[in-house]
């Protein structure tokens, strides 16, 4: 029996019959392997494209928010100026009415009319004061403060948001839930709550933004009070407009009914302004994202050998975004249609090349000099 089986096997091996099937199996395996590698390489390069889109979108969104913050601050300054100018006109009318009222009060017969006119002037000035308080002090100034201090935070959140929409992977993976919900003791319930809260907070954390200057870490670099601000003549309080304003207020203060708010009628606003006269360039921000990568075993063998450190290299991408422009003194008819020309030219968001970055590579404090070779890090980690 065994001898017969051996004989058959020998006969099969020495025969040419069926050899095409062996070849076919080998060639099919080889071609499918090559196709798998092609597929994996393409998948990796497509992931790189997607990661690049995510990084670009994040950098652009942050720059958009910086522009938005600067433009809104600039607009609100303009709004405050316009509102206060109108209120000053109201004060002027009230001041004029007060002078007339004082003249009328000097005469014996027209004194009662004078009193009525003076009260009407006081009422008009109070309306102006109320509008200033509500619109300027309560709304516009606080909104401006929100944008000055909140723009960077909102930009960070929105940039992570858009990177996530473009498929960037989480930087901080979710912590596994301790479970045991329902019948667990109070300690495990608190632990579960904390873990869930942390996961919720970090679940959208997919992009890291690094400012190239410390100026923009917490707030947009618009400075408070770099122009002494007054209605009528916002840029030059000592000029003719400023003097006229003071004279106006002085006449208004003759009105006895306004004694309780006399000190509050003069307002000198300290505006936050983007730089005047010079085109503004915000410090750029670098944004990095990553995507998980998982290639097949065959590709791992072809692409990375059997070295375990080459398994699943993540796909990294970075982009640099910058807010450029923004000039309060310059107007342009070609600016955006949404933007009235008297607001000045608004800032625009751009993606810029990494070559445009100027790194501060040396830092010295207390006699200690530290050298950062940032470009080297770029080459090592990001340009691979």
């Amino acid at each position: 029996m065994m001898r017969a089986l051996g004989k058959t096997c020998l006969k099969r091996i020495s025969s040419d019959r069926g050899v095409a099937f062996y070849y076919t199996a080998f060639i099919t395996f080889f071609i499918l392997s090559i196709l798998t590698v092609i597929f994996d390489v393409s998948a990796v390069s497509r992931k790189k494209i997607q990661a690049q889109n995510a990084a670009d979108a994040a950098a652009l969104e942050m720059a958009v928010w910086q522009c938005r913050g600067m433009n809104i601050v600039q607009n609100i300054n303009s709004e405050i100026y316009q509102t206060d100018t109108v209120i000053c006109v109201i004060y002027g009318i009230a001041g004029g009415m007060t002078i007339i009222a004082k003249g009328l009060e000097a005469s014996v017969f027209l004194a009662p009319i004078g009193v009525i006119v003076e009260q009407a002037a006081a009422a008009l000035a109070r309306v102006g004061y109320l509008v200033h308080n509500l619109v300027v002090d309560v709304f516009l100034k606080n909104l401006r403060l929100v944008y000055v201090n909140g723009t960077m935070v909102m930009g960070y959140i929105a940039a992570n948001n858009v990177a996530s929409a473009n498929g960037a992977d989480q930087i901080i993976p979710p912590i596994p839930s301790p479970g045991g919900g329902g019948g667990g003791d109070i300690f495990s319930k608190i632990l579960e709550f904390i873990v869930n809260a942390i996961n919720k907070l970090t679940s959208g954390f997919v992009a890291i933004g690094i400012p190239t200057s410390t100026d923009v870490i917490l707030k947009i670099p618009v400075e408070e009070g770099d122009a002494k601000s007054m209605p009528i003549n916002i840029k030059d309080p000592e000029g003719a407009g400023g003097i006229a304003y003071r004279v106006l207020i002085t006449t208004l203060l003759l009105n006895a009914s306004l004694a309780d708010i006399s000190t509050k009628l003069v307002y000198v606003d300290k505006p936050y302004r983007s730089k005047e006269g010079v085109e503004m360039k915000m410090p750029p921000m670098i944004w990095g994202v990553w995507k998980k990568n998982d290639v097949s075993y065959i590709s791992k063998y072809f692409l990375g050998g059997d070295d375990s450190s080459y398994m699943n290299p993540p796909v990294l991408a970075y982009a640099v975004g910058q807010a450029q422009g923004g000039n309060v003194t310059m107007t342009s008819a070609y600016d955006h249609e949404f933007r009235p020309t008297h607001y000045g030219v608004g800032a625009d968001a751009f993606l810029i090349s990494v070559d445009n970055l100027r790194f501060k590579e040396d830092m010295e404090k207390g006699g200690i000099k530290i050298h950062f070779n940032i470009r080297e890090y770029f080459d090592k980690f990001l340009l691979h």
Binding site: G18, A20, F39, I49, V131, F139, V162, D335, R339
Partner: protein, 213 residues
């Protein structure tokens, strides 16, 4: 007699190569077709990635309006031998608001549920009046305009094998011969940062300037 002849034929080696070749030839042909189709599909998908990016970026710079048509994209990305016969389609837009935009909408929806549509409208109107018209341009519109514009493009490409063989490469909910990238590209609304409204007083000043110069 015939039976014996047939048995002899089967035992003989003559014609075996012809028979075996005939049997394995379909496999080789399928492999050959796959070798042509798969890299081409992958190439198409890579070009679609580029087209998607372009669509979303153009829309992002034009408040959501796509200023080019499919013919332009076709010419830009598939006007060569490899792109022969490829027909692209721009999928319906699926724009997303940022998380702040959604939060604001959620609050507004909650208010509408709680107070009713009419009262919410009245409340917004009153706050806008009290704030001198600054609520809408400097708060609500700022967040409402923070939108991510989408761009998603699919391609219909002729393949050597029936297209259904490559279903694994096609995106979801697509006809078998259409290939998608499986994701949409999103770009932020770039011009929205220049958006501004005006308060009532500013509008009035504008009107005075227009009328009196």
């Amino acid at each position: 007699m015939e039976e014996k002849k047939c048995r002899n034929r089967m035992r003989s080696g003559r014609g075996a190569i012809f028979l075996e070749t005939a049997l394995v030839m379909p496999i080789y042909l399928v492999l050959l077709c796959m070798c042509i189709d798969i890299p081409r599909i992958l190439m198409i998908k890579q070009r679609l990635d580029g087209a998607q990016r372009l669509v979303s970026e153009i829309r992002a710079r034009n408040e959501g309006t796509l200023t080019v048509d499919t013919a332009f994209l076709q010419k830009t990305f598939f006007d060569d031998g490899a792109g022969n016969g490829v027909k692209i389609t721009i999928k319906p837009y699926n724009d997303k608001g940022s998380i702040m935009n959604s939060a604001l909408n959620t609050i507004q929806d909650w208010l509408k549920d709680f107070l009713g549509k009419f009262l919410t409208g009245v409340l917004e109107f009153l706050v806008n009046i009290i704030s001198g018209g600054s609520l809408e341009p400097y708060f609500l519109n700022v967040f409402n305009k923070d939108v991510f514009y989408s761009g998603e493009v699919t391609a219909n490409a002729p393949t050597l094998l029936p297209a259904i063989a490559y279903n694994a490469f096609a995106g979801d909910d697509l006809p078998p011969s259409d290939f998608g990238t499986g994701y949409a590209c999103y770009m932020p609304s770039c011009n929205s940062c220049k958006y501004t409204g005006e308060t009532f007083i500013s509008k009035m000043c504008d009107w005075i300037h227009r009328v009196f110069g």
